[in-house]
Symmetry: C2
Subunit: 411 residues, 2 copies
């Protein structure tokens, strides 16, 4: 134990340059391992919202659309996120929810690849990806095939020119496994199909590498690791080479080339603006922008390095403390996202017992204790504390308490 | 002039019980006639956002989904808006943008009326309604026919059982003309079709009467008269009798019957919840809820009475001050929304000259000076001041100043 504490101190010293804890509001006594579900409030987000409400909305009123450039915020913030996911400017815009953006992407992909009948996606995707992909496919007369990501390259080759799109998550939301974006994208391209990536569990914590990996389309969420606030608007990426052909099924006036001409005909903007639909929820948009200030001065590679050190140290602590739960997350760094998921038959109650001790993680069906290691505000000391609490929850069998087994409405 | 001032005072005394000005933040010296574009900040909205950011997000973190009932907010606020638009509880939910909601409504309507090939809408709709209706129709293989609302009943009768949906705005965004919702809905029902209403320019200022008028579907905006904040989330209404058949093209996990079961199959919630898609932008959602507190203790009929008195008095002032501009808005109360639109060949510059005098209205293509009379915070004294400034802008030909003719990015 003394060894682990000393090691945590050493690691925190080594990684001091990437510690951004002081930029976040976190309640005393809490180790927050749920930043992959809802990132915490940052000073940047708080200040952005206060200014947006009091000065911009309150004083500038309608003029804020110009004077505070509300109109350009979705592209401005899109580029900021683009820098974190390896996208050159002009390819990412903040808009709508991940679900709505995925709908646009699937429909647009099928229009970019007419005559191809199949969309491939992962049966273990976050469910909204399955629902939305099927919704879009129903409207388009396409077939959705559910193929686990590990088996996808072989199936893609078999499907050949009947494949329109392979749509996968870069990191599995339950296990935290990180998939090979360039390899799967290449497999899709080899048969002339497109690849769309869901970055909900990778944006902001690792080298997503959209441009380098030749991704065609991507969507992602603003409220997890990016800490944009509850239900923060999502983003969508369209590679420059596809912009002119990105034919959205949600042709809203915000995506028009000249929205204030009030033309009866829809002429899409030539830029990523065409992926916008209606007016963006600006207070939530600007909270996200404020939150992204926490990344100022950090390259995403540094963030990834800190993340791997945190999750790696957690795995080390599990071993050292004799916590023998099966680990669903790969130990290999190249295959590990920024979370560690453990399996336990009473996973829900384990999570509740941890929360009672101030270690906030979350439960995922059926048996997953999911612990997210958001690198900007967590320290190796936090990681050790979390592991120690977990050891006590298990050794004292705290998960057997009846009240820890009662499910809340939102789990 | 003295007569008008005395009359303004009398009217303000008569309507003192519905004056909610003290609940709003409005800069000194401003007469804000743009509440139909962006409603102003209210104390309720400001307090709601501050609490949502600091206490709920900042302290409760992920637990706020349960402890502050973020999860139930879209339906809770939907019911509050429902009370303003004549919808019994359980039929309205706050979600997405008006454009996205209209897309759901058009697709769902066509699925409720299979085998019917035509959707009717107004060529003078706010353009996003045209774009989105065509987007949906393209996916469904339907035909969109543009028929002005005045000619719609006759065309509906001709189309008979080939009509799936008549989709119209209750109040024209440019002229402010109020259309007869029950009559047009009846015409659609007479041929077995559905009626969808866009309430962007009627919600919160008049007796919309969705249930009484037997409307089938409706959409509307949170950021105009409802003053929910820039880009506030929109709402969608589905009449109870259509809920079970409301088959959304945007089947997101928030609309699932059991979203946290993480099932691979989409089972829509049996309630209006099925119109939700992804996670709602909660800071913007809660700002809207806070803003709606300004309606506490007011029946919408009282708000309508105040609105008619304000617009009626403005028309009276135009006459008395000899302002001879053509009025695009009907003088007849039953046909007048909550705005007065005037035509002027230099309408853009007239609006800029008014803004320079502190009277904020807006310009709409091609020649409309659009003045919105949001009843909760405007007085008859404000109305008189606006008319007097307008008289001076015109008589002094201030609209000829070159700098007033330079268009801003967002008009």
């Amino acid at each position: 134990m003394a060894d682990l504490a000393a090691r945590a101190r050493d690691l925190d010293t080594q990684h001091a340059a990437t510690d951004r804890r002081s930029l976040f509001h976190l309640p005393a006594g809490v180790v927050y391992l749920d930043g992959n579900s809802l990132g915490p409030l940052s000073r940047g987000a708080e200040e952005a919202v206060t200014d947006a409400v009091r000065r911009q909305w309150g004083e500038q009123l309608i003029r804020a659309w110009n004077e505070s450039d509300w109109w350009g915020a979705p592209e401005r913030i899109g580029d900021r996120i683009g820098a974190l996911v390896g996208a050159a400017p002009g390819q990412v815009v903040v808009t709508d929810s991940t679900s709505v953006n995925l709908f646009k992407a699937v429909v647009a992909a099928s229009r970019l690849r007419p005559g191809r009948s199949t969309v491939l996606t992962d049966p273990d995707s976050f469910p909204t990806d399955l629902y939305i992909t099927r919704s879009a496919a129903d409207l388009l007369g396409l077939t959705v095939e559910l193929v686990p990501v590990g088996e996808a390259p072989a199936r893609i080759a078999e499907l050949g020119d009947s494949l329109a799109l392979a749509s996968y998550s870069q990191v599995d939301y339950r296990t935290g496994e990180l998939w090979d974006l360039p390899a799967l994208t290449r497999a899709a391209h080899d048969v002339g199909a497109l690849a769309c990536w869901d970055l909900c569990h990778s944006a902001g914590v690792l080298d997503v590498g959209l441009d380098d990996g030749a991704a065609d389309l991507a969507v992602g969420c603003g409220y997890k690791y990016l800490s944009g606030g509850p239900g923060a608007p999502a983003f969508v990426y369209v590679a420059t080479r596809h912009l002119a052909g990105f034919d959205t099924p949600l042709a809203g006036w915000n995506g028009h080339a000249t929205p204030f001409a009030m033309s009866r005909e829809y002429t899409p903007a030539p830029t990523i603006t065409r992926a916008r639909v209606g007016t963006a929820p600006m207070l939530s948009v600007l909270a996200l922008e404020g939150a992204l200030a926490a990344y100022d001065g950090l390259a995403v590679g540094q963030v990834r390095e800190r993340s791997l050190s945190l999750t790696g140290f957690f795995l080390e602590c599990l071993d050292a403390l004799g916590i023998g739960l099966p680990v669903a997350t790969p130990a290999e760094e190249a295959r590990r996202g920024s979370q560690v998921s453990l399996r336990h038959p009473e996973a829900y109650a384990v999570v509740q017992a941890l929360i009672a001790r101030g270690v906030i993680g979350d439960f995922r069906e059926p048996d997953i204790v999911r612990l997210g290691f958001a690198p900007l505000y967590l320290s190796h000391a936090d990681v050790l504390a979390a592991a120690q609490h977990l050891e006590q929850v298990l050794s004292r069998r705290e998960f057997e308490r009846e009240d820890y087994r009662t499910r809340a409405a939102v789990t």
